[in-house]
């Protein structure tokens, strides 16, 4: 019997593919976000509002990841933005290879930003790099204020956190300060934007951040 020392990254194949995506996006000067949340946090609504309100300033496209259906892609397309649907047929996250295919179906030369709406899941998508410039976490107040404590990975790895459905704050038990403190303990540099995509509350702060990030000419 003998031992072989490897120190090989197990997800190497996915990471290589993610790296190729990063190169492709950088070459086209497109900023890319990987948006991750539980199902039902309002990701698609946030995107539709953002695309509509920033239409004059940013050309945004969306890659939609869902287990089934193209409901979200249809919703994005009503804004006039390019959108491609990836159905994972049961898989709980998107992988870099699927994003490569998605990117080749988007008019990258004409875009400033690609936002990947990952499969609604606060766990698995955090493990798989897609080639994005940053991860964007979304949490809605109806989900409860214990989520950063219970699901530390996504809050540790994200660059910004949108706390959505602030219009429901008065009817749910959600301690905003607890969420901010728990999330920043894991990730001191995390940008946090309390918003309501429905009423428009706080959306301008998120728009300003996105415009700023997109203008920085990614890595």
């Amino acid at each position: 019997m003998f031992k072989v020392d490897l120190k090989k990254k197990i997800l190497d194949a996915n990471e290589q593919c993610a790296f190729e995506n990063t190169k492709l996006l950088a070459g086209k000067k497109v900023f890319c976000l990987n948006m991750i949340s539980s199902p039902g946090s309002g990701k698609t609504t946030i995107l539709a509002k953002t695309i509509t309100n920033l239409k004059a300033k940013l050309k945004i496209a969306v890659i939609e990841g869902d287990i089934k259906t193209d409901i979200d892609t249809q919703k994005i397309k009503t804004t006039g933005a390019p959108a491609v649907q990836i159905n994972t047929h049961g898989a709980c996250h998107l992988s870099a290879e699927q994003i490569t295919a998605g990117l080749h179906n988007l008019p990258l030369d004409k875009l400033d930003v690609v936002i990947i709406e990952n499969v609604g899941n606060l766990v698995c998508p955090t493990d798989f790099e897609l080639g994005e410039n940053a991860k964007l976490a979304v949490l809605s107040v109806a989900e409860g204020d214990d989520k950063p404590a219970k699901y530390p990975a996504i809050f540790s790895k994200s660059k910004a956190l949108l706390i959505n459905k602030m219009d429901l704050l008065k009817v749910v038990d959600f301690d905003l300060e607890r969420v901010k403190a728990d999330a920043r303990r894991l990730n001191p540099g995390l940008e946090i934007f309390p918003i309501s995509a429905k009423t428009g509350e706080g959306m301008q702060n998120w728009y300003d951040w996105l415009l700023d990030q997109a203008g920085q000419n990614p890595r």
Binding site: L6, K9, C124, R185
Partner: protein, 113 residues
């Protein structure tokens, strides 16, 4: 996907050495959503009928570390309590990158021709 990638990596290495994989040591950071029991179960299921059937997985979870910006001490992060420097109690901390998901080493047994 993790189990499949692992199976492919171990099988490739075993084939290169014309040997049978006895065990594989894996390490992963605390922020990975790796559950040992589920990974073992998934690996066992997909390894059936391959050279990896019966290969034992040894999984080591690596703690997440933080560095104190005040006194520069590096320490393990405990998610269940307030995160402060154990020496100077400062909460001005830098989280260090999580350990990657690695196939550290494999133990092989030569195939008798």
């Amino acid at each position: 996907m993790v189990a499949q990638s692992l199976l492919a990596a171990i099988s490739a290495e075993a084939a290169k050495h014309n040997a049978r994989p006895i065990s594989a040591k894996i390490s992963c950071g605390r922020l990975y959503s790796i559950n040992e029991e589920i990974l073992r179960f998934a690996f066992k299921a997909i390894a059936k009928g391959t050279p990896c059937e019966g290969t034992k997985l040894v999984i080591e979870q690596k703690p997440l570390q933080a560095k104190c910006r005040s006194c520069e001490k590096t320490f393990e992060v405990d998610f269940n309590s307030e995160i402060n420097c154990p020496d100077c109690k400062s909460s001005d901390l830098e989280m260090l990158p999580d350990s990657p998901l690695l196939l550290e080493e494999i133990e092989l047994e030569e195939l008798v021709p």
